[in-house]
Symmetry: D2
Subunit: 340 residues, 4 copies
Amino acid sequence: MTKKLKMGLIGVGRQGSNHYNNLLSINQVDLQYICDLKVDQSWKEKYSNIPHVVKDYHEILEDPSIDAVLIATSTDAHAQVVLDAAKAKKHIFCEKPFSLTVSDGEIANILRTVKENNVKLQMGFNRRMDPQFRDIYKQIQDGNIGTPQVVKTTSRDPFVLKKELIQRIGTLPYDFTIHDLDLARYMMGSNIKEIYAKGGTLIDPTLKSIGDVDTIALVLEFENGAFGLIDNSRQAVFGYDQRLEVFGSEGMLKAENVSKSTVELYNSTSESKKNPLPIFNERYHEAYVDEVKSFINSVQNDAPVVADGVDAVFAQRAAIATDESIKTGKPVKLDTEFEV
Amino acid sequence: MTKKLKMGLIGVGRQGSNHYNNLLSINQVDLQYICDLKVDQSWKEKYSNIPHVVKDYHEILEDPSIDAVLIATSTDAHAQVVLDAAKAKKHIFCEKPFSLTVSDGEIANILRTVKENNVKLQMGFNRRMDPQFRDIYKQIQDGNIGTPQVVKTTSRDPFVLKKELIQRIGTLPYDFTIHDLDLARYMMGSNIKEIYAKGGTLIDPTLKSIGDVDTIALVLEFENGAFGLIDNSRQAVFGYDQRLEVFGSEGMLKAENVSKSTVELYNSTSESKKNPLPIFNERYHEAYVDEVKSFINSVQNDAPVVADGVDAVFAQRAAIATDESIKTGKPVKLDTEFEV
Amino acid sequence: MTKKLKMGLIGVGRQGSNHYNNLLSINQVDLQYICDLKVDQSWKEKYSNIPHVVKDYHEILEDPSIDAVLIATSTDAHAQVVLDAAKAKKHIFCEKPFSLTVSDGEIANILRTVKENNVKLQMGFNRRMDPQFRDIYKQIQDGNIGTPQVVKTTSRDPFVLKKELIQRIGTLPYDFTIHDLDLARYMMGSNIKEIYAKGGTLIDPTLKSIGDVDTIALVLEFENGAFGLIDNSRQAVFGYDQRLEVFGSEGMLKAENVSKSTVELYNSTSESKKNPLPIFNERYHEAYVDEVKSFINSVQNDAPVVADGVDAVFAQRAAIATDESIKTGKPVKLDTEFEV
Amino acid sequence: MTKKLKMGLIGVGRQGSNHYNNLLSINQVDLQYICDLKVDQSWKEKYSNIPHVVKDYHEILEDPSIDAVLIATSTDAHAQVVLDAAKAKKHIFCEKPFSLTVSDGEIANILRTVKENNVKLQMGFNRRMDPQFRDIYKQIQDGNIGTPQVVKTTSRDPFVLKKELIQRIGTLPYDFTIHDLDLARYMMGSNIKEIYAKGGTLIDPTLKSIGDVDTIALVLEFENGAFGLIDNSRQAVFGYDQRLEVFGSEGMLKAENVSKSTVELYNSTSESKKNPLPIFNERYHEAYVDEVKSFINSVQNDAPVVADGVDAVFAQRAAIATDESIKTGKPVKLDTEFEV
């Protein structure tokens, strides 16, 4: 048995709580710290099973016994915490997106620091680790569909998030479409060179007041000439709609939604209950657990991480281009180069 | 029993032969004439079961016993034959597209003639009559998915057509995408106001020599604010790939491919044979038969046809816009008005 | 084009009406006569499209222009009409079962007459011609599942028939299970040597008054050592439940129910409407048409029929054994030999 | 957080190793002991993460800190270990079957001891905890299919076990069919009152030498008049075939096989890879974990276990009746009463 990884969790909000539960269920993880700006006495009682419950993440970074941190703070803090953790020589798992505001140059600087300190940095593009999508990725690598020509992703949330939350985590292109853009690029193995996106408020027109849309339909072109089609919605009344299809010269791969149960009910009104799983942490539960396991493996065996900082840069550029295309009504060209 | 409809078939090529077989299988049809430019003595022997086998379609139009004609000539002849048939007071079923070259004004003129002579004109947008797509259309009308917000169609041919045939029947936007554009507009009940299309030769680069592409990915916007995504390919190695999905405020409707048999085979290599039907006249067999039955019903009961000349105009405009967007790399706005 | 087959339909009740519609839709059939004991003046008006509407089937048999008859009278008349038709040298398509009362010896006598007069006799075991089941049969012949070891059929009617109708067409083993028994034997290519059947009135206890059951579960053994499991019910509230599964040394074949549409609806209450087709003449429409086409082919090309009189004998013996096993509570051995 | 349950695992063979991995993955379990007759120095090294690795299970029973044991020894030891554990006041999770040889009277005696010592005894009928089957069970309780009338189970192993292993764990009725019999009884909520079973060696005739069969097809009747059909095979070349269907007065519930991935591949040879999971510990992984979690919950909250000793008695009687029916060729009546 390999030694457990001593870890600290930084940020225990919406996404952090999801990671908290998953870290506890992973045998190779020894969760030593949780850290959140809201920590007070009540937290220490609630989390009495965790040795250290702290407010300042530097306490974790200064503890020499800690191997790695998982960063799930609000997005605007990601870049600084990553930089500090890298300098403290902790391996880093960081939620996406890397940043909404930091420049390419600054990101390159942070990634250099990560490299110089010889630590792993994995970005939380959890869909890459979803068993269905992983199967598609593997089958593409195995040549089962020849040369990929068209990738299509559909992602729809079950309900519209509150405006306050949107303002904190980013509008649709930055919080949501970014996943599709990363997944599409990952599957096709080619950078995106052009995006044309339409966005609208078909569900909740008041989203305009915060500069957001609730529906996106876009077409994109990869460097290698292949195409992609993505459609997103903030509200699918039937559940969390998450699908992927890749078409190639020798065939097609398709991942439909995942249901809780595949049991079929037939009755006189013919209802069969096979809706998608209702929400992200149920749908991508295995992906969330497996991305951490994959990270641990990268740390323990010095293997490449499944999604690194450069991947984050490209996903972010695509999200920005999506946003710009929606706003200008024009196709947007993307820079396909990035130097660390 | 209603009286049978006495009909003539004009044009017995690739599409016409398909209609020929279907007309014979429909009990309400009494096929009196077939007509083709290639008719010679051998045709009269081959089609000895048909009372009249002629070379000149005017013979049909001059026969007062004939109620209706089905026009499946090459596209460039459609407009003239429709005009002549209308003047001869024959009901008209005409293959799509209406024309690749005739101006809006000339079409309006033809449609006025159709109207003045009080005959039916149905255009061969067969997909509208496909049982799966008809079910989706009906469910949308029944309000099962609330307000439609996004329509997605995928159409892929099983193999690349010969260049000579393409030159006769039109390039991808005009021969193929036009069906998706018409179907999308039909489902959403709103005219298309903008199209952005990417086209490429991912399969056969020599298609460039005739100004054609083999792969199209496009995003479009309807007058009512809804979006559409269409992707087409000239070659799906697994069969004739034809799917439709409509997403709305209260749900989603999805039609997957149709297989010849739903029998499942499980063996040690796990092969299950459930490919789509291989080719258009098998996949849309019921649609081809039902569109003629529907036409007959319109004639006999003076009911509206399922796709009329104005529908053909809008489909054609969308095909032209698709072509233009591919060639210019820019989104193209469409005129959403048409006066007969 | 081959000459059309001039046919007469004898018996136009529940099953006969179904055949009537199908005969009209088959181009190779020229339906010259319909015959029924109930024929009066109103029939002649209703069926003015049929040259001869008669009360006595001998009129058909005496018309030298008639090639073949389709017999859909009540079961007790089958044997006599078959015998008379054979003597009149008409090809015969006869509904199953052959008889509920006639002895093996008498049947052998009839089958000899059929043979001596050199006419075809096909029994209406329509399921053998169902496209799904035909696909399974073909795949078994192709060796796709190796040696068949276990066959399972499930057949359930959508609602309990009226007692008067049951008394005319036979109780569950004779009217219903007989189809499963024939299909199982046909798929496995081996005669049944033992049946153990349980029957009960789980749905309508008043069926006991006419000596019938509404639910049957049976296990059977074939001469070659393979097994079969059959379950029947008079009432599946969700539709006409018709499924077949064959398991063998190299794999398994499975035919699920057939739905009218494969369109999927997803909404907030998660209903997806994919019930089986509701009733026998819809579910087996193609089978009913194709069994007649197959019969025509046998006549025109002197080919073997898909189900002959000997098949009917074995199916009937199995139905009788099922009935006996239910009543005695004991396994019943079957005679696997029959000599014409 | 509730206190962890301190547990000992007795027996670390084929089934025990599966439980070992699962126990480690359950956070509420503190695995203190593993015990096996084969334990030697190498085991202590291999299992250095477990505090105590012992050869004699009495060491576990004598440790007052231990709350519960999981018994996965060979079947013939089950009864004695359960009795000893009950006397030592340890909660007990015991693999099925309870015994192949112990009499009803002796079992009643053991169950009384369990009761008097106020400990929980849960039997390892893991299928009751499978998520699919649990969903069916719940839907039956919710009345979704009205009164259950027919239950059907299909269970097939992927390959024939070695004869030595069969002799240790029991022939097909005792090792395999017993699960189907328990599941059928559990779903229908009624005791089995009659079984008629056919068994044969269609796969490996040499199994006769150890008195075993490889294929079973049986029909059974419940006390409440409902029916069951079960078929088993020792070898399905396509994987571990595990299905359940329950039909009732108001509908039907159906659980098909579970695949590793639901990704669909379409290519020119049409292969879609969707085989069932290959082997029991993969197919029933969640069930194996959840049955232990359910046991822990019963212990911690003094709740009823999901399958108790009386359930084991009835399952065993049904297995014996199956065996007897196969051997005598006659239906076998079962005693439906049992008093502890």
